[in-house]
Symmetry: C2
Subunit: 201 residues, 2 copies
Amino acid sequence: MSKAIAGPEIERLIQLLARVPGLGPRSARRAALHLIKKKEQLFAPLSSAMAEALERVRICSTCGNVDTSDPCTICTDPRRDGATIIVVEDVSDLWALERAGAMNARYHVLGGTLSPLDGVGPDDLNIKGLVSRVAEGGVSEIILAVNATVEGQTTAHYITDQMAGMDVKVTRLAHGVPVGGELDYLDEGTLAAALKSRTAF
Amino acid sequence: MSKAIAGPEIERLIQLLARVPGLGPRSARRAALHLIKKKEQLFAPLSSAMAEALERVRICSTCGNVDTSDPCTICTDPRRDGATIIVVEDVSDLWALERAGAMNARYHVLGGTLSPLDGVGPDDLNIKGLVSRVAEGGVSEIILAVNATVEGQTTAHYITDQMAGMDVKVTRLAHGVPVGGELDYLDEGTLAAALKSRTAF
């Protein structure tokens, strides 16, 4: 709002809400009004949840995951297979893989991808941490679950180079047709990869 | 998330963020991660802005506006023309009119529209408050700035009936072509109204 008409505290709340991804200036106003209307049902619980999460959130010093404990729940879970580390770019990828629930492994969050154009080098990512986790022993496989983008693949190659000489298998996610996907809508690269990696039916 | 993997406090934050209009379950996760990554720049300021707004927000007992003082800034502003009251359905409409900045009047927020099907009757809206503001005297015009929907117009008629016998002029917003609008995309009702209310050029 150009003019402050709803009190400085509410204006400030709207301004900050507008910086949350998914909300813009207009939807931030709508969100603020909704919160004010649902003061007891939503505004108060959200405010205290936010304060509590803010106070308790930690970045796991082992794998880079976000949790309320350090090391995180996954790193300390004895039922997890510590011999397999799934390497992801971001915590959101870790969450996506956990929702898939296909592997009972541990993770390593890089915090991005190598991108010389954006000035992101190996030291800006959590790659050294990965190397020392492998060097400590007990890890037999590293699954590179990075995005299938140029930056993701560059990062994958760099990590593979770092693992040279260590006794660890480096694998990557399979390329292919997404489950439920229609061939007609897929790009040529994916179709070619799916054909190349065809499996017995 | 079906599985709690990021600590109960973060899960709870995601659940509550998902109930904010404009955010869904998926964007709530993305928003929570963004907040955690921008802990100092965004998460901490937003958390404190939220706590402060929650504590200080008031509904104006005169007009129903949302502010940090009661009566609100607009109701207590001596530069405002107290003889004109703009009646709106919702605080968001008040904010929209304030952004337009076309009138220096006061407001009255109904808190909705009459809607017998949804069980919203006159007593569920802030209509009595409007009648008593007019009855107190000093008000010469009421501008019905309700939405041009069936419910909005029903509410406008009801309020006009309540003002019968009082010394107050009741007006409504003009119908017509939106500024910058193209005729081709307008509905027949709007075009008919714009023709009927044509003005000298």
